[in-house]
Amino acid sequence: MLMKKLSMAAFAIALSASSALAGEIVLNSDQSDPAPKKAMEGLIADFEKANPGITVKWNNFDHEGYKSAINNFLKANPPDVAAWYAGNRMAPQVKAGLFEDVTDLWDKSGFNDTLKSAAPSMTIDGKKWGVPYTYYQWGIYYRADIFKANGIEPPKNWADLVAASAKLKAAGITPFAIGTKALWPTGGWFDYMDLRVNGYQFHMDLTAGKIPYTDPKVKAVFDKWAELIKPGYFLENHAALDWQDAMPQFVQGKAAMYLMGNFAVATMKDGGLKEDQIGFLQFPEITAGLPMAEDAPTDTFHIPSGAKNKDDAKKFLAFIASPEAQTKMNAILGQLPVNNKATKPDDKFLSAGFTVLSNAAGLAQFYDRDAPAEMAKAGMEGFQKFMVHPEQEDAILAELEKTRARVYK
């Protein structure tokens, strides 16, 4: 009798233990800002409602700290799902075998069709390594009211852009706001200059390390860029400013254009600008007839290869790839859903971005995600230096080439 009771208890314990394992997924991510946090909370609640019996244990990390934490927890204590980024940014984890191959999920669920625009940036060695759920466009945000007051039409090509800058400068307005203290804003400028001068494939080859930085075509990019730097069309002292620090200049009308990601719109509106004061402009054409590619950094979810509950983790990935989940989440995030069956948020800038991205000849992830980390750091430092000392162009390019030769060996 006693024996039976004991074995029943043991059985019950075993049952509850295994069911706790089967029904819980641990999720690590870095949605520490208010809007992403809210979007994530909604997503988890919806997922749990749609999948009764599965609970999500969510560890929300600080955005910056996450970048150094991920490599530790992937090895030491892998969760079942982890947030990360597409493109070359996930290459170190993929190469180290820390992410699970989810190609079967893509094939089975038709993602190759619905998530087509992000498929190339989720592919390494012909396999898919995660699921994208949001991206956003980059472009030139400009003060529509200032353009109008100075009689400037939104530039369509490079000559227009230079002419508009000259006109603004003459009127005592800095043409471009920028803050390069954190380096990455320079990457946006280089990406667009290279994408417009040399095109998507060249840019991808360059960030993949196949082209030397001393190549005449790279030099041509810098020469074009210098046409804006040498006359002083960028905010002075940008190396001391973060991108937010440069924003007051834009809001106060002391600077008229800002090459940024769509997340900047929220900051502009917080600063007191009305929606019709802000215009969105696709980065203008430089080399005539070249198909226009864009920067569209994509955020993703992955299954660590050491995950304990891969079955439920795959359900979660499938859920977050669905048009309904992406519609709802991106409405809160103020960004664009990747799934082409999803409804895009009803917003002036996102509609413009959606049009630009759906017609893009290719999507780059951003310099610091396309190039390997070490190259990205040295590269963006070089760009920053170039924006302060354009006369040192050759020395900077030689230095970058030295780094390239070492990083990609």
Partner: protein, 304 residues
């Protein structure tokens, strides 16, 4: 007979060696922790510095490869040069701290309040100091650039200019460091022998000669500690560089400890071997000073 012969045999090994063993037993916990948290990481750092390792995958033995690369790395020399500038200029906090301590070492009503106000910068976290100075230097709205603009008409962003940025950070670092040195000297001044001062006064010593011949020699222990903490503080400067410039503009304000962090642990890093090699170089530089300080300390103890 047999009982007396057996007694020394029965005395345990511990009993026999008690005098020799006891100090080691008392030292054991400390030594164990020191070995685990200080010595072992040093050995490990040196070991890792011989590898090419991204912190994730397989580590590859490359012998002295990382050091060979350091030798031709311009960023490394920039960091080294900046560390040297830090070392020299940071020592200014010693005379400055002494001056303030002498100034504050008087009995007037409310002196305790003044002392604590002067000590305040040291209480604030380095991160906060860095932020405050960043705003102080900030172009457009910072106090300093406002003053410069009023005087010269042009705006200077000291932290964005590679000619001034390192010096601007060191100034920020000196602020709390001077406060620290001041406290060291204030306690030193409390222990000055008043009889000697009185005797000197009778011999008509005053002003500089009193300070130089009577006060400063008696402050020697405080000076020694002040120089030690300042040198070590200068070599491991990290927080301010990280907060104020991220090592920029274009890497011109890097110091060795920040460069090590960048290479090994930052967002664009994950070269553990290379970072460890930088750490080893920094360790060797520190070792030079530490050895000097320790030999001096031992010599003083023997003499005293």
């Amino acid at each position: 007979m047999s009982a007396t012969a057996a007694r020394p045999v029965r005395r345990s090994w511990f009993k026999r060696n008690q005098i020799a063993v006891a100090p080691w037993l008392f030292l054991a916990p400390g030594l164990f922790l020191f070995a685990l948290y200080v010595l072992w990481p040093i050995v490990q750092s040196i070991w890792i510095s011989f590898y090419d390792w991204d912190g994730l995958g397989q580590a590859k033995w490359i012998g002295l490869g990382n050091y060979a690369e350091l030798m031709s790395d311009d960023d490394f020399y920039t960091s080294l040069k900046n560390n040297l500038i830090w070392l020299v200029l940071y020592l200014l906090s010693v005379p400055a701290g002494l001056a303030i301590a002498l100034f504050l070492n008087q009995t007037v009503p409310g002196i305790r309040l003044y002392k604590s106000l002067f000590f305040f910068p040291f209480v604030i976290s380095q991160v906060v100091v860095g932020l405050m100075f960043t705003w102080f230097y900030a172009p457009n709205f910072g106090l300093l650039s406002g003053v410069i603009k009023a005087l010269t008409g042009s705006n200077v962003a000291v932290l964005a200019d590679e000619r001034y940025a390192t010096y601007a950070i060191i100034v920020a670092g000196l602020w709390p460091q001077i406060a620290y040195i001041m406290i060291l000297y204030l306690t030193g001044l409390n222990n000055i022998n008043p009889e000697q001062v009185e005797a000197a006064r009778m011999d008509h010593a005053k002003g500089w000669s009193l300070l130089w011949n009577i006060i400063i020699p008696q402050l020697r222990p405080a000076t020694f500690i002040a120089i030690v903490v300042t040198v070590i503080g200068a070599l491991r400067s990290f927080d301010l560089v990280s907060i104020m410039t991220h090592g920029g503009p274009y890497g011109s304000t890097r110091v060795l400890s920040y460069y090590m962090f960048e290479k090994a642990l930052s967002e664009y890093g994950f070269r553990m071997g290379y970072g460890a090699a930088i750490a080893v170089v920094l360790f060797l530089i520190m070792m030079v000073f530490i050895t000097y300080f320790i030999t001096r300390m031992i010599a003083q103890e023997r003499n005293g």
